[in-house]
Amino acid sequence: MSAIDTLVRRHGLTTCLLLPPLVFLAAFFVVPLIEVVRGSFFAPDLTFDHYARMASEPLYLRVVSITLKIALLTVLLCVLLGYAAAYLIATASPRARQLLMLCVIVPFFLSTLIRNYIWMAILQRSGLLNHALRDLGLITEPLALMYNQTGVVVVMVNMLLPFTIFPILSSLLAISPDLYHASSSLGAGPIRTFCRVTLPMSLPGVVAGALLVFIVSLGFFITPALVGGQKEMMISNLIDFHIRQVLNWPFAFALANVLLCGTLVLYFLYARSVEGRLPRTAFP
């Protein structure tokens, strides 16, 4: 009998299967995380200086508020566009659906960096978009589409759209077609069926997608670094700045911890709001 057999017998299969990933996470995630938390408080004695500095200097509050603003805007646009896209995919014929799904997935295969550079080619002063608009006679002076919040939000929405499309799509596809028939037989036209059945039943997907996008947006790094302006720094860029330029690691740690705490709070709010109120699965 091998050692693995003994292990499985003593602790059950689930535990044994969980063990390798748990060890991996502990070694490469939890330990560094503890180091980051410790590093922000001890230098080497206990101090709250870094946090105090963050709260007292307007620059840092400004970065936090810009980060929140960009993230919220991104969420809003991702939910609206993502819902429309998911609805289109869900109502398409099976064949068209496959094609549309491919359109959503393929850009995922491209490296994030490449996609950012492509967007820069599109958005810059002498980029594709400005050229096209000028050729069409819609503008005389090139628009400032890059190195500002507009550019960052546009590109981030593009990067994060699939995170809303897929959860919304899966909750839409989980709705039995019979429910639509039931609704119409009971006297509801297409619009009211959408408001009373489709929308509420796909809400879990909307909430999940929105939260995912928000959390990822808060920590977004490449896009604000490449497309954003100097004044539109997001919190990740600030962390990067303090690690690589200023070499003030404890302060960077403190910033990272604030980001982490904010994200965790959001996550638990979400978990509580979902618990009990929404059906566990779209279908009982």
Binding site: S176, D178, L179, H181, A182, S183, S184, S185, L186, G187, A188, G189, R192, T193, R196, V197, P200, M201, L278, P279, A282, F283, P284
Partner: protein, 367 residues
């Protein structure tokens, strides 16, 4: 709720539906008078659901018309048809409580809040679910969900009620209770109802009229009694209840009257019903219901007038009844059903008996 108005008539004319080159519903026509219950009966895949969906307006027919109360609604969208539908899987809104589910059609009709409350209360009382009003559908048993679906489908007093295998998902005992309950409800409300089932007992028990479907075509429509006693063709005879169906030809008996002779030589007088008697020599089918086959177990019976000497080749005891498989002299197999306690109860496999049936119980079918 009460039968304030007699239900509207429902008329389906030459309804046809094809999917690609596949004709799923083929020229189906029937007329259902107000406040009556018609059951579409047929095996799975015979086109019952497709027919029902056309009437509800979920999909357009390829051809044909649907009329309610004399009005042509073939092109009217489903939400303007005023037709209640009970779905096979109930299709309750999982995110709404029982109360909100039942209120849904009334809210769509923008009735005053008071009125909605009153009518939802009445509908829930009708299906005895007052105490479950605040539950979500997934917190109810199958039978309860079924009753919610029913309440929701009738609360807005639709002109016609459609039910697709309403009892299909319930266990046998519950099904039997619900058959009676639905029938009573339908009669109380006086609502014109089209039900769909593949269960022949359900069809016979619940309906004013039964329409038998097979392969997308209507085989016969009539009262349960008519269908059982006068099946129009082999399919109906076979599908409704157990049947002995014998193939053979028309022959003349000793007195010159037409009689039936099976391919294996069993000869019996028959009843042609409203059909004209075919000429001698024509091929023919007859059906004899097992409960009409009397078994005479006495050894001397064969000598006493007409009858078919048989050997018992199998016995099945089913409590209140016994089933006998008999083999006639020529080899024809005949199924007989006898109430427990009758003369034949003690017959065993291998016994020689005489089987008899009346002329009017041997029905001629179109060959």
């Amino acid at each position: 709720m009460s039968a304030e108005t007699a239900g509207a008539t429902l008329e389906v004319a030459a309804l046809t539906k094809t999917f690609g080159r596949h004709t799923v519903v083929n020229d189906v026509s029937f007329r259902l008078d107000g406040s009556r219950l018609l059951t579409l009966l047929g095996p799975s895949g015979s086109g019952k659901t497709t027919t029902m969906r056309r009437i509800a307006g979920f999909e357009e027919p390829s051809a044909g018309r649907v009329l309610v109360g004399g009005e042509d609604i073939t092109r009217r969208p489903a939400h303007k048809r005023d037709i209640g539908v009970v779905f096979q899987q109930y299709a309750l809104f999982p995110h709404l409580t029982v109360r909100r589910n039942v209120a849904y059609p009334l809210e769509m009709r923008r009735l005053p809040r008071r009125e909605i409350e009153r009518r939802v209360g009445e509908a829930l009382a009708l299906v005895r679910l007052e105490d479950f009003a605040e539950r979500l559908p997934r917190q109810l048993s199958g039978g309860q969900q079924q009753r919610v679906a029913l309440a929701r489908a009738v609360v807005f007093k639709p002109r016609v009620l459609l039910m697709d295998e309403p009892l299909g998902a319930l266990d046998k005992r519950l099904r039997e209770t619900m058959q009676v309950e639905i029938r009573q409800l339908q009669q109380t409300l006086g609502i014109t109802t089209l039900s769909v089932t593949h269960d022949q007992v359900e069809a016979l028990v619940m309906s004013d009229l039964v329409a038998v479907m097979d392969g997308g075509m209507l085989q016969q429509i009539g009262t349960p009694r008519e269908l059982y006693q006068r099946p129009a063709n082999r399919f109906v005879a076979d599908f409704l209840g157990a049947s002995n169906i014998l193939a053979g030809e028309i022959a003349a008996d000793a007195a010159g009257r037409p009689s039936f002779r099976s391919t294996r030589g069993l000869v019996s007088p028959f009843d042609a019903g409203s059909r004209s008697v075919p000429d001698a020599g024509a091929t023919a089918l007859v059906v004899i219901r097992p409960e009409h086959v009397a078994i005479d177990p006495r050894p001397a019976a064969a000598a006493e007038g007409p009858g078919h000497p048989c050997v018992v080749s199998g016995v099945v005891y089913a409590g209140d009844v016994l089933w006998f498989r008999l083999r006639a002299e020529g080899g024809d197999e005949i199924l007989a059903k006898t109430l427990a306690g009758a003369d034949a109860t003690e017959c065993r496999e291998g016994d020689r008996v005489v089987a008899r049936w009346r002329r009017e119980d041997c029905l001629l079918l179109p060959a």
